[in-house]
Symmetry: C2
């Protein structure tokens, strides 16, 4: 009895100590959603799947499972978050963007587990472990990002032309918080994406919400275009939203759906130096105004206004990502979502 | 002092108790390997990345990072395995195949963490979170598996024609251990793969071995075609091999490379009912004979010979996967690899 009590005490204690072990009551994964598509009329092939191995039949006809979504979950022993916390990544990325940072520091996954949240990380439909469908099923080709693209678009470099193959010759925004020495490592986690799959992505996220919520959703960048839409469709299940540099907001004429869902919008630095982020920022703030007009609550944190300078679009992996996670945790606590 | 000692005691105790929390001293991920490819001469496009958002430039020219590999690691507090344990998945799958089973039971990832191994799970190049390259870079189209394909080829069903869209009409091998009621769920974790990327996959796995080994490698199915090749190239770094239904072996004329690396080959049931598995089985056993002829040690476990019947090709997620993990752990302990 005494051993059991001691064990319980220790396991409860572990996650709250910084740098201490992560004690999980469970972890695992599942795939959710998707649909089955029938293909017919194509010739059957014979392929060799492993060099030197026996040939086998490959039938490109039949029933294909597509548009499902991969979800990995980590449930801390000492749960403090009132609801599960869902982390939805940005465009051209997977859930891995919340894991270890490109320069090897802890990402928000570990941090929010340590803060006591049941964390669910997903790879949006067609990204990462969710798999992707063939050209018979999805329109268009996937989009591949070259090494210059995120550097110039994510407010790491000074804009178009700021990237150079030689790291020493790259033009970095002054005081930037992105770990630029690991930029090439960051590019290894960038994956292709389609421009025609938004409805499928929203459908799978909606199924996830139906399965694991009530919850808090934290989304980054493109994740916001999906996140606000899903939250508007399931406002009773989304107890709070943390929109980190959301590239897109909800529909203005449906803003009232979120009147009971507290929202935090958080932005990095140098927004005004980039026309695209200026546009997204305005879209988000216009939506915030519309939600507030219906009686909802939207808090906006512009990090530079708090004296926190130099954050890129990749706030989640910037050098001060722990500081930003603390700010988010404090906000969540202020909304009564942390026990 | 007493609290610290108690804490240490508890954290050491936790992983050895079945069903107890997983206590990790760390977890995280990284991408390794790959190369940069330059593309030129294609027209620059303008795209809208988020519906309603501002347009932006997409340059299909420039430097593209390709052929890197995603690796996720879980390091238990109470480490008992002498070396890290690398889990390499099979064809058309990702590292997720070692996580929760399609019917919701624990997979080998959790089991081997609980047994005290530092576990590294990877998604082979072009699968899952490793991302994939465009048609300018890789030859051929990816291969997509229809719902019938694994059912008929993985010794779940009785062979070609045994799959039916209606689960009630599927012809399952008698006494099969695969959780057939979750077969459609299993298909959600199947991803496309290319037939032209083997060298890139081997290169990334070799870099992983150079980074985290000495180690033990456990591979499944297609993972064996890569695993034996990598082990032959880095025999000093691979302290043991567990080949689970390996679809391919090493080169016979280089078998001597493994004379100092103990190998376990493990096979499920009904091999002789399928011409392809009969062929792979023979390839593996011929290689075992060659390794032994150079003084090496290869143990072969045919599960049916031990009275364990009905295992499909997907041993790692069959109903008795915990029993099989225990058999592997016992073998690893017999080789002095468990403290």
């Amino acid at each position: 009895m005494r051993v059991a009590a001691t064990l319980l005490f220790c396991l409860m204690l572990a996650p709250v100590l910084a740098g201490e072990p992560l004690a999980l009551r469970d972890m695992g994964s599942f795939h959710i959603g998707g649909r089955v598509v029938e293909i017919s009329g194509r010739p059957v092939q014979e392929i060799v799947r492993v060099p030197g191995g026996p040939p086998s039949r490959l039938d490109p006809n039949g029933r294909f499972q597509v548009e499902q979504m991969y979800v990995q979950y980590f449930l801390p022993q000492n749960r403090r978050g009132k609801y599960p916390l869902l982390l939805w990544h940005g465009g051209g990325l997977t859930g891995a963007s919340f894991e270890t940072t490109p320069d090897g520091r802890e990402g928000w996954l570990n941090m929010f587990i340590r803060k006591g949240w049941d964390v669910y990380i997903s790879d949006a439909v067609e990204r990462g472990r969710s798999g992707f469908a063939g050209p018979d099923i999805w329109k268009g080709e996937p989009v591949f990002l070259n090494a210059a693209d995120p550097f110039e678009r994510f407010r790491i470099g000074t804009g178009q032309g700021s990237y150079d193959p030689d790291p020493a010759k790259r033009h970095v925004l002054s005081g930037n918080q992105f770990p630029v020495e690991a930029y090439d490592q960051f590019m290894k986690q960038v994956v292709p994406r389609w421009l025609s799959t938004d409805d499928a992505i929203v459908a799978a996220y909606t199924e996830l919400v139906d399965k694991v919520c009530p919850c808090v959703i934290l989304f980054h960048s493109q994740g916001g275009a999906f996140g606000f839409k899903v939250a508007q469709a399931r406002p009773d299940k989304v107890k709070a939203i943390v929109a980190v540099e959301s590239a897109g907001a909800g529909q203005i004429d449906r803003a009232g759906a979120l009147k009971g869902t507290p929202v935090l919008m958080l932005f990095g630095d140098n927004i005004d130096k980039d026309a695209r982020w200026t546009a997204y920022h305005k879209t988000d703030l216009d939506y915030a105004t519309a939600v507030r007009a219906t009686g909802g609550s939207v808090d906006v944190i512009e990090l530079p206004d708090q004296g926190i300078k130099g954050n890129s679009h990749m706030v989640i992996m910037d050098r001060n990502n722990a500081q930003i996670a603390d700010i988010i945790q404090k906000w969540l606590a202020s909304k009564g979502l942390v026990d």
